[in-house]
């Protein structure tokens, strides 16, 4: 399955005339939408956002695609569509949203939409050429969500980069992510501040072309 998928992806890449579709995945609140916004600001439009950033988990409950972003890094060019996906979770309890001041009705609605968003994120895996897997560098990276995503990307032969996000925070420990997944490429960034994004773009141009 993995080998066959890998060959198909290679063939598709050779014959491709369309943009490379890059999905942004990760747990809720890892900074996926902040990263998507940063990429758009850097290469498309400094005033446009793909989505709203919030401290309340599951702010992104629909996948959003931004097409035709030309990423340039050290002379390399890569034209991509960026797909910002809802955070992958195994549980969604509407009670958790009440703590953020939402009414019970709003919390239940948000929980329902969030479950649909997770399903949508999973379905998008069938249509992607590459993935940026965003992890919060202040948190333990060895979560089941991360393990399941990586296992599925490996099985499907989809190239990916682990983005160790939020390195601007004092308690960030990107080395912990590198130690947890030593066989994969890890790029530490702050999507919010724009730190080390150049390195990420170089890696994207190298791995997703």
């Amino acid at each position: 399955m993995g080998l066959r998928r890998g060959l198909l992806l290679l063939l598709r890449r050779i014959l491709r005339r369309r943009n490379t579709k890059i999905g942004i995945y990760g747990a809720p609140n890892a900074g996926k939408t902040t990263l998507a916004n940063r990429i758009i600001h850097d290469f498309l439009d400094n005033t446009e956002d793909i989505g709203v950033v919030s401290e309340i988990p599951h702010e992104t409950r629909r996948a959003f695609r931004k097409e035709g972003i030309l990423i340039t890094a050290k002379g390399a060019k890569l034209r991509v569509d960026i797909v910002d996906t809802p955070g992958l979770a195994t549980k969604i309890d509407f009670h958790d949203f009440l703590a953020y001041g939402l009414s019970e009705e709003e919390a239940k609605k948000r929980a329902k939409e969030a479950t649909e968003g997770v399903i949508e994120a999973i379905k998008w895996l069938d249509d992607l050429d590459g993935v940026l897997l965003v992890m919060d560098a202040t948190e333990d990276p060895y979560t089941q969500a991360n393990i399941v995503i990586i296992g599925n990307l490996e099985a499907r032969g989809i190239p990916f980069i682990i983005v160790a996000n939020k390195v601007d925070l004092k308690n960030a420990a990107p080395a912990r992510i590198k130690n947890a997944f030593p066989q994969h490429v890890v790029v530490p960034v702050s999507a919010l501040k724009g730190d080390n994004m150049e390195k990420l773009y170089e890696e994207m141009a190298r791995r997703f072309r």
Partner: protein, 120 residues
């Protein structure tokens, strides 16, 4: 329900420990249905042979479609897949699944899962 010595109400926690042989006879969908049915009854399901990453993703997808006010989802823990020669053969390892409101993983690395299981 039972009463403890201090008069506190106790609720038994049921564990389903499923052998690798039993799982081998099931299709992926049968495994997922079996797990979800058990977890929705409040059981902790431990699979000796584990689930593949694809089966775990399918389990998450089905869980999402069944979440409601009474069922908040699952907590799942598993060791990563082991790969054989040239990475061609995959071997899944133990997977534990429980109701999200009863089970909480507190520590996890590639060879250890430590979880707290508490009554609701």
């Amino acid at each position: 329900m039972r009463m403890s010595g201090g008069g506190e109400e106790e609720k038994d926690i049921k564990l389903d420990l499923i052998s690798e042989d039993r799982m081998a006879s099931m299709t992926s969908m049968e495994k997922i249905r079996f797990i979800l049915d058990g977890v929705k009854l409040g059981n902790i399901v431990v699979l000796e042979g584990g689930l593949t990453p694809e089966e775990q993703m399918k389990l998450i997808e089905m869980t999402m479609s069944e979440i409601d006010e009474d069922f908040a989802g699952i907590e799942i823990g598993s060791y990563p897949v082991k790969r054989g020669f040239l990475g061609l053969r995959r071997r899944t390892r133990l997977t534990i699944v429980g109701p999200a409101n009863m089970m909480k993983t507190i520590k996890k690395d590639k060879d250890l899962i430590r979880a707290i299981i508490s009554r609701v």
